[in-house]
Symmetry: C2
Subunit: 245 residues, 2 copies
């Protein structure tokens, strides 16, 4: 029996059988996490994966439906890490998923250097001083703004964790594409696959998925555009297929 705190609720993992503990006032995962978990290359049978800035564990949970490898989530906020741990128990995934509480800047020291096949990260999107909805809880602020870690910290740590030839994938706002690719190259991660997410046909992209390989040769592929909603605000066929809904 898993205990829910008063402000928590049990949500479905979009398109999956699993459940996840969320809280409207503390933290809920967004579509970005679901899309990143579906976009990233994963080993099917075995391997070691890490999710940085893991929040309430949405990406590790989603990944567990695609790989039999182990996934370690790293999260600095004790409250979110605790939610994630209870969700892992709830889905009976303790053998495959684990959460470590700690700072993304120390990921190599905490989890080991050069050991991992895959690192995912849905980092804070906004600069520390940028206003988004800063009327949110401190938990949201930390998850959404570069208060405790920057994009560079995330990319450096992903590079620290990866084996040679290992893959790392990020989701971010398209405005940060240049920072992403510049930093990836600086830390020996060559961008290899990119996909742009458009909310609707005819609209500008509002999300970017990008995957790089440690010490790979240059050569970027841009996957077909991904469009989330039809004009009538229902999910596109592409989106429904993507999520197995």
């Amino acid at each position: 029996m898993i205990e829910l705190l008063p402000d928590e609720r049990l949500d479905h993992l979009l398109g999956k059988e699993g459940r996840i503990i969320q809280s409207p006032t503390v933290f809920s995962y967004s579509l970005d996490a679901a899309l990143l978990a579906q976009f990233v290359w994963v080993p099917i049978k075995q391997g070691q994966l890490v999710d940085l800035c893991a929040g309430n564990g949405a990406i590790p949970l989603f990944l567990s439906y695609r790989t039999q490898g182990t996934v370690t989530g790293l999260e600095i906020q004790p409250r979110l890490a605790a939610m994630a741990r209870r969700s892992i128990q709830l889905n009976d995934k303790q053998g495959q998923l684990k959460m470590v509480e700690g700072d993304v800047k120390e990921a190599g020291k905490l989890l080991g250097y050069g050991l991992y096949d895959v690192v995912t990260c849905n980092p804070p999107y906004f600069l520390a001083h940028e206003s988004s909805n800063r009327n949110m809880s401190e938990h949201y602020t930390i998850a959404r703004h570069e208060v405790l870690c920057t994009l560079e910290d995330c990319i450096r740590s992903a590079a620290d964790l990866l084996k040679q030839g290992g893959k790392t994938a990020f989701v971010h706002r398209p405005e940060r594409l240049l920072d992403l690719v510049t930093l990836m190259r600086e830390y020996r991660i060559e961008p290899k696959r990119m996909q742009l997410i458009y909310p609707k046909q005819g609209k500008e992209a509002n999300m970017l998925l990008i995957e790089g390989i440690k010490d790979a040769k240059p050569g970027l592929k841009v996957l077909p555009p991904f469009i989330v909603y039809e004009q009538d605000d229902t999910y596109t066929l592409q989106m429904r297929k993507h999520l197995d809904v």
Copy 2:
């Protein structure tokens, strides 16, 4: 009366009333040029524009339907520059368009530093050693391979020519996105607008349009995806609108 050489023919400018002298064995413009000329920001009433690697003058001709400013094409191959000059005469655009024969690496020296509002460039796509269709004429080889100029030469020259706040737009293969944005930033051109061209729905992007502004603040927008063909190989509505066909 304009003279055509034996291997030349008179083609329509896609979607426009104008005509252009082309040659299947020497050089013909491709869709890339038409899309770049439509994508780039232009001043409507007046201004000075340059097209680097102008070939047989397709981009200057296309631009003349969007702006009343003057457009100078720079082309190193005498045969192509001569074709372009005859096409300019043919369309009676001598008052607005001119061709200069010369090396893109010397663009600033030839045309003047810091004077221009807009610079376009459809550069050679392939590295000097890369194989594409190298069974083509030497004219094609020079136009398609970085034999006489590299991407860096083109970007450096665009930066040389531009006023502060001037705009420059390139078309290239998506594989070169990282080189493009890295070099643009190196030469003080901040990438601001990008559009990916997909041959069909569900296919990887095969072309990239990108525009930067000299000495601008960071912040990239990714425009809606542009899809050229329907599944049955007819032009999409988007493409027909784009070309005013």
